[in-house]
Symmetry: C2
């Protein structure tokens, strides 16, 4: 059960510098005419569900949230993994239904921004409008990058590239939480559980990565980069 933990106060929000309100002038900030609900979700709980009426966006305050699209035949595709600072739920801007579901994969906390309020605010404040615009373009680019990756890279390259990206922020050689099952990795990269498992097992044996609990560590960065670049079995142009 998600738990409402309070209402947000944007001016003093600890993650404001990561949010769309980062560049808002103080006087504007003070005038934000609503107090967004802050809700905590445990791993596995749903923030919003595909098909539901879409009337709010959410800023991710912490945790990890997967954005998935469910297909009629029961399969899923994992579109994005969102972490602290992300803005999710764009569909609300069309005042329609969510075309995706958002589900916490690690305990998460989100701040609920009603579309009406946010949209009003956007029209009143140029900086906010630009911040949203910027997010939207980067989301689109990210989606396009993913399309390219999905269609041009091989399985091992995709998985290696994802791990490199996921661990990129941490100091090299550090343990990094990776709260995803093999199945979820597969749903993200367009591969099956077994294929994912085999790649990871192979890399573990070769000392490229280590896994423990739900964490991962890259032990041989150059080797993994080589895999990501397609260096196993060379393609020439």
């Amino acid at each position: 059960m998600p738990k409402i933990t309070g209402t947000g106060h944007c001016p003093s929000c600890p993650i404001r510098h990561l949010s769309i309100f980062a560049d808002l002038r103080p006087e504007r900030l003070a005038n934000i005419p609503f107090r967004p609900l802050i809700t905590r979700y445990k791993a596995g709980e749903t923030i919003y569900q595909q098909g539901e009426r879409a009337d709010a966006l959410f800023t991710v305050r912490g945790g990890v949230i997967k954005i998935i699209r469910s297909l009629p035949d029961g399969r899923n595709h994992l579109l994005y993994l969102e972490t602290t600072g992300a803005l999710i739920g764009w569909d609300s801007f069309l005042e329609e239904h969510y075309s995706q579901s958002a589900i916490a994969v690690a305990d998460a906390e989100v701040c609920r921004l009603p579309e009406r309020d946010l949209n009003r605010l956007r029209h009143a404040d140029l900086e906010l409008d630009n911040a949203i615009l910027r997010r939207w373009i980067t989301s689109l680019r990210r989606a396009e990058d993913r399309m390219v990756d999905l269609s041009t890279r091989k399985g091992n390259e995709k998985l290696a590239a994802f791990l490199l990206d996921w661990c990129a922020t941490a100091p090299p050689g550090d343990w990094v939480d990776l709260p995803l099952t093999r199945g979820e990795l597969g749903e993200m990269l367009g591969l099956t559980v077994e294929t994912i498992s085999r790649f990871l097992a192979d890399w573990r044996k070769r000392g490229i990565i280590s896994e423990e609990h739900r964490r991962i560590r890259i032990d041989d960065l150059p080797a993994l980069q080589r895999v990501a670049a397609g260096g196993e079995r060379r393609r020439n142009n």
Copy 2:
């Protein structure tokens, strides 16, 4: 060589009903403070190039334009095929560089909207802002749909689904221009030339489609829909 054919006059534009100016009130329309350049491109010519400074969007007035991303290793991925009414060149809103190239695959005509002008206009007019917002979100959704297709469908399903989609507007059984090489189809769907060629040859032999010059006709719609749905070799959930 692209040829500038004149400057557009939005209020009287023949494709205005398809453009972002469709819902603009007449008095607003009359006040559009610029006359966009209209340019004609022959098949193969480039509207804008990945890496170039991005300072303008384009409304497609006619023809077919492919939006591609080029990879360092020389391969391309065809992101979208745009036709009449589409708005392309979103990158300009970030005042950065185009992350894609736009190339005519059939003779095309576009209307150039400088980002500065368009953005100013957007802030002055709520309806225009909403029209653009609506396009944002649908672009993002379309990209997400493509991600799902690329990662969950098999080659024949992807190709069949594309043909169905491409021919959807024409009356069933009609010839439809399809100005794409097998290579381009492959770059769009993440398949090789040979694979595309084999599927099409197979469907031709089975009387599902016909091809002639650079046109295609769907002769057995249900059969093609069956293929697109994964009906060849049944998958049982």
